[in-house]
Amino acid sequence: MKKLILTIVAALVATGASAGTIEMKVYGLVCGFCAQGIEKTLRKNPATVDVLVSLEDKLVVVSTREGQDISDADLTKALTDSGYDVKGITRTARSLDEIRAQLKAGK
C-alpha cells in the first residue's frame, strides 16, 4: 500500500514537472541539413511528440508527451552531440503548433 502511494505521488510530481513545450535557442543553425540532424536526434527521445526547427529564429522547439519532460541536461547533450551550441532553454505554456503558427505569421 505504501509502495502504491509512493508511486502515485511520484507520478503526480512528474506530471507537475511536465512543461509540454520546450524552446531552445541554438547557435550554428544555417541550413536544412543542420535541422534534419537535430530533428532526427530529438525524435529518438521517447518523451518527444514533435519537433520544430526555425533557422530564421535560431530556435528548436520540442513538445513532450503528457506528464513527461526532457531534462535540460539531456536536451543540451542531444544538441551538443548533434554538433550545435545551446544558448538557452525555456519551458513555455504555448503549444508547438501555436509557436509554428506565430513564426509563420511573422514571416
Binding site: 550554428g28 544555417v30 541550413c31 536544412g32 543542420c34 535541422a35 532526427k40 533557422l55 554538433g83
Partner: protein, 217 residues
C-alpha cells in the same frame, strides 16, 4: 544556346539520379550518398555513414580522364572523415574537415592496378546568405599522384528555412594536378536543396557540364 541545352540536360540528369552536400559529414547517425560529375574530367560517387557528428566512414569511387592526353584513373577507396573544428555562431557556422583513406587504383599509363591512398581537407564558412569553401583532395599510388583543389563562393537570393527550398548561385574554381587538366577551371552553378536532398548543376568555362547531387537520411 548550346550551353543552355547542356545545362538543362545536366539538371535533368542529376534530378533523375538524385544522389551531395558540401560537407563530408551530415549529422550524427546519418547516411550520406553523393555523386559528382565534373565536366567530363572527373566522376565521383561516395557513401558515408556518420556514427557521430564529428566523423564518418564510407566508400568512394573516383574516375578521372585527362582532357590533355586521355590518360585514365579509376580509384576505389575506403575513407574516414573527421570534423577537426567547428565554430557555431549566432547566424553562421564554420568548419574544418580532414579525411584520409586507402584503396586500389587502375591507371591507364601502366594498365595495372596498384595500392592507392588519399587525404584531404576542407574549410568552409556559411550563413543563410553566403557560402565559401576551400577543399583539397589528394590521391596517390606507386603509378601516379594528383590533387584536386576546389574553391566555392555562393550567394543565396533569399534566406531559406528548414521546410523551404534553398537556392544558391555558386562560382566554383578548380585546379587539377597530375596532367588531368591544363590550367584552372571555372564553373557557374545553381544549387538547390531542401531537407535531405541537394542538387547542383551548371557549366564550366569550357561549356561543359558540372553537376552534383546528394541525399542525407
Amino acid at each position: 544556346m548550346n550551353l543552355v541545352r547542356r545545362s538543362l540536360a545536366g539538371v535533368a540528369l542529376v534530378g533523375a539520379s538524385l544522389a551531395a552536400t558540401g560537407k563530408p559529414i551530415a549529422f550524427s547517425d546519418g547516411t550520406t550518398v553523393m555523386a559528382e560529375y565534373g565536366a567530363g574530367t572527373m566522376k565521383e560517387a561516395q557513401v558515408f555513414y556518420a556514427p557521430k557528428y564529428f566523423y564518418s566512414v564510407g566508400l568512394g569511387y573516383l574516375e578521372l580522364e585527362s582532357d590533355i592526353d586521355g590518360r585514365r584513373r579509376e580509384i576505389t577507396y575506403a575513407r574516414a572523415n573527421y570534423l577537426a573544428k567547428r565554430w557555431n555562431m549566432e547566424s553562421a557556422q564554420a568548419n574544418v574537415f580532414a579525411w584520409g583513406g586507402a584503396g586500389q587504383a587502375y591507371s591507364s599509363e601502366t594498365n595495372d592496378h596498384a595500392f592507392a591512398w588519399n587525404a584531404g581537407a576542407q574549410v568552409d564558412y556559411e550563413t543563410r546568405r553566403i557560402y565559401a569553401s576551400l577543399k583539397t583532395d589528394f590521391h596517390g599510388s606507386s603509378d601516379f599522384d594528383h590533387r584536386i583543389d576546389t574553391l566555392q563562393l555562393g550567394i543565396a537570393p533569399y534566406e531559406h528555412d528548414f521546410d523551404t527550398l534553398a537556392t544558391w548561385f555558386v562560382v566554383q574554381g578548380r585546379q587539377y594536378t597530375g596532367g588531368i587538366h591544363e590550367g584552372g577551371e571555372w564553373a557557374l552553378l545553381l544549387r538547390l536543396f531542401k531537407r535531405g536532398a541537394w542538387i547542383e548543376a551548371g557549366v564550366t568555362d569550357d561549356g561543359k557540364l558540372q553537376a552534383m547531387a546528394m541525399v542525407n537520411f
